[in-house]
Symmetry: C2
Subunit: 470 residues, 2 copies
């Protein structure tokens, strides 16, 4: 066990499971861990290193899949007798054990939910039938950036609704934000250092790490990403969510946007990636135009998606490239076919062009406004609490000073079968200063609110001392 | 001009345009090229370096887009007076000039064509309507690997038709081969060295270079990738097209497949990527099972697509991961949503499951067999020529000993407005030993054959001396 007394580096670029995996591989390859030797149980190792069970499980499943460890029922894990470096096993390797099914918790406060009860089924079906029947040319390979007609309609829409300034030439249509982010990472130099919001999307951290690129977490204050820390960090690219920061819900004011743009203008290799997710929904004031529209020197890369405004299964997102990166894109990616079905491109093009998308946004916006109101009313009954980040988007933050998030979430699961998310889940460098829950309301229909609202109230109302010291 | 007397390295990993771009940047940053100084015209530079016009155009457009060069009408290119490192231009940067529109050449022998006249419009439209109306759950985010039902049906189909051995757990559905290849590159270690077929797909070379990974071109002989060169190359991953090598059309015999598997088994970090494109179409013997089905140690990654068997705009491809890479995938990509619309997944699932796909393959296979026959008949009238690679797939090779491909293709364009592809276009390290044309026949309907067949004949029939010395 002494061999495993290393301190995983939770602030670095390498995920914890990868650090554990590499440590075992090097111990086994150096012979410090001998063939047949028993290694710590998952439970023991996770207590020992202070990491989560799923982290250890991921590391062990990689080690078993690659033939470094053997797993035997009831006898635990041992170093594999046949080292893969010398003699690969003659037997077909076993499939890795499927991840344990998620405990069947109810998730009425999911931050990823979208209400699809108002999905425009009949228009969508009609437009799809038209697309399949009316234009045989749609079966052929289209423009790698997406069909020109869709890009034109979208460009017009984004100019009007988001204050974006671009030409259809600069738009790239792609199968989801993750795909488009992957593309952007390949257009920027490999030496780039990525500043990501902390707290922030875990998937963005993973995407950058998956390409073996460098990341620095930058704290978010009540106006968005902190510019002084950014300046000192050595980062060259900053990824921000100015319209509604995830998970804090901050809307970045104009002053901070200007500061960020100045930071980007100060050196030729600096860029901002503006993730404009959730920007379609704003409740207390007019929508704030995208930062992209303020940029006069081609330093903002803009990404948005229809997955939240229409439905998660509509895998269409869009990217606006500034001129220098557009030139890179054309040099590097002119060979690649578009990742979106042309039928679906055509449907979306008509859906936006005929005004159905704007109508859908108004309808679904009204629905979300009502759900937000009901949730705020419920939360107002919790003493010693405060709500922030509710001006826009589809989630808000409930601050609960003096409480312990972990205990709260664990009790919600155990006592009510209810999934709750603590702010700490999204923090990288430092835990949150104050306990808070991240509560989504897009999927919170009346039935779910009535079923789980009382549970949330009862959990959050209990006195800190009574609950968190147990 | 003396400054530009460098020899671009055409065998290396760095594309030529990138080498030229970097050379200019370093000359400008070091001051060897002063602000305001005139640089060679595109035409002069391309003659000087012996590279193509489009290579120089790409490099210059990057340099202009990034502010290193200014382009003035009629006065050529000069080094920008404001160096971007010191003072970024206050003006909004101009969009890069669009690539010059492709000359309007007819392309009846395209290798990427698919006949869509037999596309099953009515079944597709019916299945799509059903998908949109019948299951509201399809609007929600699905499994990152693709819907389980589709994976099951596809697994069954691939077992029966391709001899593939896998479980639905190992399948990942994604928006196109390029997307899935990008994913695989992120699962393998960054130190991996990729052996690619030479001649081979240019897009594969680009995909690997775009991620900044190392490539070695490996020659293809009449059985496929050369194993002795592969062994000596230091490569750790080999990308092969065993069912119908692109562009040579070789079908890899069982012996070579075993050799490649042995190569992969010899070290734990070695993998084979089997690109099974075109495998649906075979004319002279029964289809040869995929190499994936021979693999007993989990070293083959298998990729296939519906873009060629149904329609190019159907952006659905599939990937089979061996156990060790599946464990990696789960650790790295469990956060990502599937890149394929769930409506389209559902349509495809029913299309395969109801037997419509198998019927479609028979129908379209008969059509391609007929077109292949007509093309072979036409080519048999060309003296001193030979055809290879016509046993399978959707293209073949026409060998024309003693001829010059470049001259042939240039004359086809100039005299007949006809696009032809020389084998040399797909070669990396060494030019082809013998002139050959790569001719696709999937889009060669009777009308096109009658319009362009005579032109092809007349070009290829002329005596070498009369044509190529001109």
């Amino acid at each position: 066990m002494a061999d495993f007394l290393f301190v995983p580096d939770s602030a670095g670029d390498t995920p914890l499971y990868e650090q554990i995996y590499r440590r075992f591989v090097s111990e086994i390859q150096s012979g410090s861990l001998a063939a047949g030797e028993k290694v710590p149980s998952k439970r023991r190792l996770c207590a020992h290193l202070g990491v989560s069970m799923s982290t250890v499980e991921t590391a062990y499943s990689l080690l078993v899949a690659e033939g470094y460890l053997d797993s035997r029922p009831r006898s635990g894990y041992r170093v594999s007798p046949l080292l893969p470096l010398e003699a690969p096993a003659a037997e077909a390797p076993a499939l890795p054990v499927s991840p344990p099914p998620a405990p069947p918790l109810a998730d009425p406060f999911s931050t990823g939910a979208v209400d699809t009860s108002v999905f425009p089924y009949s228009s969508w079906a009609r437009l799809t039938r038209d697309a399949v029947y009316q234009n045989p040319d749609l079966l052929q390979r289209g423009d790698p950036q997406g069909d020109r007609e869709l890009r034109q309609v979208l460009c017009h829409f984004l100019r009007e609704y988001r204050g974006v300034v671009c030409s259809p030439e600069q738009l790239v249509i792609g199968a989801g934000m993750e795909y488009l982010l992957d593309l952007v990472l390949q257009l920027l130099p490999r030496e780039a250092v990525y500043a990501l919001e902390d707290p922030g999307y875990r998937s963005t951290y993973r995407a950058v790490a998956n390409q073996g690129l460098r990341v620095v977490p930058i704290p978010v204050d009540d106006q968005g990403m902190d510019c002084a820390t950014l300046e000192a960090s050595g980062a060259t690219v900053a990824y921000v969510t100015p319209s509604h920061q995830f998970p804090l819900g901050v809307t970045m004011p104009a002053g901070r946007r200007t500061q960020l743009l100045r930071w980007a203008y100060a050196r030729p290799d600096r860029y901002l990636i503006e993730d404009d997710y959730d920007s379609e929904f704003r409740y207390t004031s007019r929508p704030i135009p995208a930062m992209q529209g303020l940029d006069r020197r081609g330093r903002v890369v803009y990404v948005g998606t229809f997955s939240r405004s229409i439905a998660p299964s509509i895998r269409v997102a869009y990217l606006i490239l500034p001129p220098a990166l557009l030139a890179r894109y054309r040099a590097q990616f002119s060979y690649a076919a578009s990742t979106v079905s042309r039928f679906e491109q055509q449907v979306l093009c008509r859906f936006i062009g005929d005004g159905l998308y704007a109508r859908h946004l108004r309808r679904v916006g009204g629905l979300y406004r009502a759900r937000r109101g009901q949730l705020l009313e419920l939360l107002s009954a919790i003493p010693h609490s405060a709500v922030t980040g509710s001006e826009a988007g589809l989630h808000l933050l409930l601050h609960l000073p003096g409480r312990d998030e972990g205990t709260l979430c664990a009790r919600a699961a155990a006592e009510f079968g209810l999934k709750l998310r603590g702010l700490g889940e999204f923090c990288r460098a430092a835990p949150p200063r104050q306990a808070a829950l991240v509560l989504g309301f897009a999927g919170l229909d009346r039935e779910r609110l009535e079923a789980y609202g009382p549970a949330l109230l009862s959990l959050c109302r209990q006195e800190p001392s009574a609950l968190d010291k147990s």
